[in-house]
């Protein structure tokens, strides 16, 4: 115990002398402490500011490879790579920056023409990009293989559903506003309205839909009626999953070849990697704010206890400064010794404050204040310090002990926290002893002075003539009012200053100057100003228009005076000249470009309507994405529930694309409503312009031309050929084989009724309706057969008249009574193989690999419509009596059409990969895709209801038994599903030998039998039990 006693004695002694020192030399000590704090905080300058802005890092394109996933860098090598640059990025972003202008500009063109036809070119470009295929020794690679495949949008974004791609490549272009449908674009009377319909009205820092799709900041896009600079720029944004240098190189080369930018000086040397910090959402903000509220409550309740001092606020401030600067010192010291903080400073800060605490400060104050008042200040401080010395030391030791225990939890985050806390505690102790004690001594001294003053004034300034009986508390008011002329002592104002508490003085100051009101007023004015300025229809556009009009480069008022004749002036031979620099023709491929003029014309005769906008490429175009909101990419990815927080993306150098359009093209793209002033076609057009006007169609792009995927295995030769298609009605079914043979089978007895071999081209699809059989062949031809039998519709009897037909197709089964006769042949219904065929309501619909659908009349095989809307081969078609036609294609999309008018009703991006099968019930559309999903869609709205995930490779076939029973095929089995809920009811396995074969096609008969097509055999399944269960 004596040791403890002695220690206690020593500590008390030390504190006493320390207190004396502090109280004797207050100013030097405070200055010294301040210097210490500043010195310790100096390393903080090197720390990055806390914020969520993205960080960039650039690497050269040449020999780029994604950084390795393991973060260890070789020793000795100074790593200039940032810490986050490990592993592959979330995505590679390729922006294809399109600058396009209509030139020569002519006065008769409307403001809308500035952007209508340039925007229309986006569809063509997208098509070119989508169809781009890299062919090299290792095989072919298409965009689909390297791009980032996205799935659903987040459910909360229903309204963006049609605008952003789903279930496929993440490819953004302004065309997305019109669902990538050129027809829709051409039919849109109000382009600006369409673009701006999703723009928010209020101030907004994050990326808007327009920014996302255009890929350039709004002011650069040039899509505006008031812009005088008639250049439209936008980007087509491609997002890649992997870095495939060859593919990217070929894409770049191809686009540059097709649309060269002659004066482009972009170097395209570096990839920029952008790392995003963790975003703070509301969900994270609420706990954070709560901890801060608790912290402030703690500080408030702690400092409230400071009492019996001259200036409570001053001391409270000193206490807070002590704690805060000790924390800053702690971080600074830790940084100095090479420990970089990895924790989120804002989050752990409240806890650090709470751990360090104000307790010692309060204890000190209380102890000092409770010393006898009549002592000298120095002695009071010293005594107060020494009396609490033991408890302070004990507390500190305890806290250090607790924190040390925490250090041994061996959890990195907790260890770091403890390290900060320990350093913070020590520096806090240092500051308490030097800074706070000194401030306290100053305060105590001031209090003594104030006490003196307090005693002085009432006696000094009270005039002797005053009535004595005044209550004491009126003294100050009286004193402040010099009522008697011979009051000479203190000035009233200084007197008031002396007596009023500081807090009140601040309040008075605020009230006198009306500071708060003025600040609020100024803030409101600024806010309103910002609102007015940023409003899309507001001041900014107006100002911009004004400025450009006044500037020397500005042109005359736009489209204000339509030329009466509508014919170009004669002195307008070749205005397109000026946009081309003299060295342009040295590129040989330029000759084929639209709007490109091979023959140079003298510069003097060109410009008549003012300067033509020059499509220039400067270094600022290289990194235009910097001008985008820094939330641009996180917003885009967040739509697909991909977070970029703490990850990075790599931005590939932009591909410049220059498109020049001539006025004629601009006119051709015009919508009827655009032409308020009538415009007759121009007469004498320069021949060069005319010639080159034909756009480079998608035909130039290589299209992957293989057979549909699920038919490839059927090429294997067999005796009769594989069964490629089957169709049934009543008790007969028709089988189409790969050998081109058409067979009619009896469903009840399982016998072959008749067969026909007209051509050797395989039958890819069959339709059997009423008495007609239509066979679509691989070479794109359609054969119309008619079945001649009396009892076709009674399944038990087939007693048709034999061999009535005189057609070349012979009847094979002599004993039986069914015959088929070729009635019509459409030799070239499609350019490519017909892959889908359906008939209903007297119409026949064919879908082909040439991306189109055709509607024929069944009676006379007359083609009624050709439907275009898919960007891939058609894989499945459904049509019913209500003349509604559904089609699915290799692009994963499903289109619903009105067969009466041939117009498209809706368009859904359904699957990643091909749509393999499609059917409808009264209320929904059911589709299956190569992604092994079966999706059920609402038929009227086109909204996905739910989807069923199937086993691998089993998503190909489906059939509907009743309105709520779905049957799907699998590997040697069929499964039954409840359509209403998506529940699996039962799975039926069809024998051992068929296990290896997936059920390729399923047909449902009326009498609850299902015919399945397993490669080269047929299976007949009766499922009465399921139906009974349902009933």
């Amino acid at each position: 115990m004596t040791l403890t006693e002695r220690l206690r004695e020593k500590i008390s002694q030390a504190f006493y002398s320390h207190g004396l020192l502090c109280a004797s030399y207050p100013v030097p000590i405070v200055l010294f402490t301040g210097l210490c704090i500043l010195a310790c905080c100096y390393p903080l300058l090197k720390l990055p500011l806390p914020g969520t802005g993205p960080v960039e890092f650039a690497t050269p394109v040449k020999d780029y490879a994604p950084p390795p996933a393991d973060p260890d860098h070789r020793p000795g090598e100074p790593s200039e790579r940032p810490e986050w640059y490990v592993g592959a990025p979330v995505a590679y972003i390729q922006q294809i920056f399109v600058k396009t202008s209509v030139s020569p500009w002519h006065k008769n063109l409307l403001a809308v023409d500035v952007f209508r036809s340039p925007l229309a070119r986006a569809f063509q470009l997208v098509e070119e990009i989508r169809n781009h295929v890299l062919r090299d020794s290792s095989g072919t690679r298409s965009l689909e293989e390297v791009c980032l495949q996205v799935t659903d949008l987040l459910p909360g974004l229903r309204k963006l559903r049609n605008l952003l791609p789903e279930h496929g490549c993440l490819l953004l272009s302004p065309g997305n506003f019109w669902q990538n449908d050129r027809e829709r674009f051409h039919a849109d009377p109000d382009i600006i309205g369409t673009i701006h319909q999703h723009e928010p009205k209020t101030l907004q820092t994050s990326a808007t839909l327009k920014d996302l799709l255009f890929g350039v900041p709004g002011k650069y896009s040039g899509v505006s009626l008031y812009r005088k600079r008639r250049m439209v720029s936008y980007t087509i944004t491609l997002v890649f999953q992997r870095y495939h240098a060859k593919f990217l190189g070929s894409l770049r080369a191809r686009l540059m070849l097709l649309h060269p930018s002659p004066n482009c000086s972009l170097r395209a040397e570096s990839l920029v990697h952008v790392h995003f910090k963790e975003e703070i959402g509301i969900a994270e903000l609420i706990p954070l704010v709560t901890t801060y509220i608790i912290l402030f409550a703690y500080i408030y309740f702690s400092t409230r206890k400071i009492d019996m001092v001259k200036s409570k606020w001053g001391l409270a401030l000193a206490a807070v400064v002590t704690v805060l600067s000790s924390l800053l010192m702690s971080v600074g010291l830790c940084t100095l010794f090479g420990l970089t903080p990895t924790l989120n400073g804002g989050e752990i800060f409240p806890y650090l404050v709470v751990v360090i605490g104000f307790e010692n400060v309060l204890v000190l104050t209380k102890s000092v204040v409770s010393t006898p008042v009549d002592l000298e200040v120095k002695l009071r401080i010293a005594q107060g310090l020494s009396s609490e010395s033991w408890s302070i030391m004990k507390n500190m030791a305890t806290e250090l002990g607790i924190i040390l225990i925490g250090y041994f939890t061996l959890v990195p985050a907790i260890q770091e926290f403890c390290l900060f806390a320990v350093v913070g505690l020590v520096s806090d102790f240092f500051l308490q002893m030097l800074f706070f004690t000194t401030v306290l001594s100053i305060d105590i001294r001031r209090m003594e002075l104030a006490d003196l003053n307090k005693r002085l004034p009432p006696e000094a300034c009270l005039p002797p003539a005053k009535p004595v009986g005044r209550p004491a508390r009126y003294e100050r008011q009286l004193a402040a009012r010099p009522s008697t002329p011979h009051t000479i002592t203190l000035q009233p104002s200084s007197f008031r200053n002396l007596r009023l508490p500081k807090r009140l003085r601040v309040v008075y100051f605020l009230a006198r100057t009306r500071l708060a009101q003025r600040l609020i007023m100024a803030g409101t004015v600024v806010w309103i100003g910002i609102l007015v300025y940023t409003d899309p229809a507001g001041l900014r556009t107006y100002l911009a228009a004004q400025v450009t009009e006044q500037s020397p480069l500005g042109e005359g008022p736009l489209a204000s005076m339509p030329v009466p004749s509508g014919v170009l002036p004669a002195s307008h031979p070749d205005p397109a000249f000026s946009i081309f620099p003299p060295d342009a023709p040295r590129l040989p491929e330029n000759q084929t470009l639209p709007g490109q003029q091979p023959e140079p014309v003298g510069p003097g005769e060109s410009i008549q309507d003012g300067p033509v906008p020059e499509v220039t490429w400067g270094p600022e175009d290289e990194e235009l994405w910097r001008e985008l909101s820094f939330r641009h990419w996180p917003t885009l990815f967040s739509y697909y529930n991909v977070t970029l927080a703490k990850r990075y993306i790599s931005l590939l150098p932009v591909i410049p694309v220059t498109l020049r359009l001539n006025p004629r093209e601009a006119l051709e793209g015009r919508h009827p409503q655009d032409g308020r002033s009538a415009w007759s076609p121009r007469g004498p057009a320069p021949p060069g312009l005319r010639e080159a006007a034909g756009p480079l169609g998608p035909g130039g792009a290589p299209v992957p031309g293989d057979v549909t995927l699920y038919k490839v295995p059927a090429w294997a030769p067999s005796a009769d050929g594989s069964i490629w298609s089957l169709e049934l009605q009543g008790g007969l079914f028709v089988v189409g084989r790969s050998s081109g043979r058409l067979e009619v089978w009896d469903a009840i007895e399982g016998e072959l009724c008749c067969s026909s071999e007209v051509s050797s081209s395989g039958i890819t699809a069959l339709v059997f309706l009423d008495k007609r059989v239509v066979a679509a062949r691989l070479n794109g031809s359609l054969d119309f057969f008619s079945l001649e039998t009396q009892a076709l519709f009674s399944p038990l009897q087939f007693r048709g008249t034999p061999g009535r037909g005189s057609s070349p197709s012979s009847l094979q089964s002599g004993s039986d009574t069914v015959a088929c006769r070729l009635t019509h042949t459409v030799p070239c219904a499609h350019q490519k193989p017909i892959t889908a065929l359906k008939a209903a309501a007297g119409r026949l619909v064919t879908g082909s690999q040439d991306h189109t659908l055709r509607v024929f009349r069944l009676e006379d095989s007359c083609c009624l419509f050709t439907l275009q809307g898919h960007s891939g081969a058609i894989t499945s078609v459904y049509v019913d009596q209500t003349m509604v036609l559904a089609s699915g294609g290799q692009d994963g999309a499903i289109c619903l059409w009105d067969m009466l008018t041939g117009s498209r009703v809706s368009h859904m991006f359904a699957h990643r990969g091909d749509v393999t099968s499609l059917t409808c019930t009264a209320s929904c559309v059911i589709s299956s895709g190569l992604d092994d999903l079966i999706s059920i869609w609402d038929r009227s709205t086109g909204i996905k209801l739910y989807s069923i995930q199937q086993d691998l490779g089993c998503g190909a076939s489906l059939g509907v038994i009743s309105d709520n029973l779905l049957v799907t095929g699998g590997q040697g089995c069929v499964s039954f599903w409840d359509l209403n809920y998506g529940d699996l009811l039962q799975t039926v396995y069809l024998g051992k030998n068929s296990e290896a074969q997936p059920a390729r096609q399923i047909l449902v008969l009326d009498n609850a039998a299902i015919v399945c097509n397993f490669g080269s055999e047929l299976s007949l399944v009766y499922v009465p039990s399921v139906l009974e269960k349902l009933d």
């Binding site: 509301i282 609420i286 912290l295 907790i414």
Partner: protein, 225 residues
């Protein structure tokens, strides 16, 4: 109970709203309501903290999910905290040993902050395994009790509450009312008892502090008479 008053002479020794409340039952109700709302608030915030870990983006959904999916959780927590907060001073009174250790609001605030910190740690810090997490949290909870309570009754009550609450949680999970994303111990998280213990201590601390106003009022009254 007048001796339960500490020497901290806050400026609001007895606010007008408190001194007007003389009836003890009304006072009890007020305390209960205050405790209830504190409990609801803490439950909401801590719930947010817990689900934050599995949430990537889009706060609107988060907010919606809080208020729709488990609407009954905050009221339950509020009720429980009201009961605990009233129980602690009551037991103190019955045992006849009023709690005198650090009876001031700053200490209570510190306690709440540490409690939130414990939750924060359980939600955000990456631990190697669950045993480590549970042990750390247990140590933190005991530390909380030792720092802010140090009474045997408080410890006993805290353990009891932790046990009871864990059993209730277990029952709820067994009956399929809700479940945890990554259960590691009998379908629940093994750190739950620690959190419950710390929560009990914290709410008891608040309850005791609130009860002191009542003591002050009574003392005041007896003073005046």
């Amino acid at each position: 109970m007048a001796e339960g008053e500490t020497e901290s002479p806050g400026p609001k020794k007895c606010g007008p709203y408190i001194s007007s409340v003389t009836s003890q039952s009304v006072n009890l109700v007020i305390r209960g309501v205050v405790l209830f709302f504190i409990g609801v608030f803490l439950a909401l915030v801590l719930n947010l903290l817990q689900i934050q870990r599995n949430v990537t983006l889009f706060p609107p959904d988060v907010i919606a999910s809080i208020f729709s999916s488990a609407w009954w959780v905050p009221p339950c927590c509020g009720t429980a905290s009201a009961v605990i907060g009233l129980l602690y001073p009551c037991i103190d009174r019955h045992l006849g040993e009023p709690h005198k250790f650090k009876r001031e609001w700053s200490s209570v605030m510190r306690c709440v902050a540490v409690f939130v910190g414990i939750n924060h740690a359980s939600a955000k810090v990456d631990f190697d395994n669950n045993i480590q997490l549970s042990l750390t949290l247990a140590a933190l909870s005991i530390g909380l009790w030792w720092t802010f309570d140090r009474s045997r009754s408080g410890f006993g009550l805290g353990v009891g509450i932790a046990f009871l609450a864990t059993v209730v949680t277990q029952l709820l999970v067994y009956n399929g009312v809700y479940q945890y994303t990554s259960p590691d111990f009998l379908y629940v998280r093994s750190w739950l008892p620690c959190i419950y213990f710390a929560g009990g201590i914290t709410m008891g601390n608040i309850g005791r502090q609130l009860a002191m106003y009542e003591c002050k009022v009574i003392a005041e009254k007896s003073h005046q008479e």
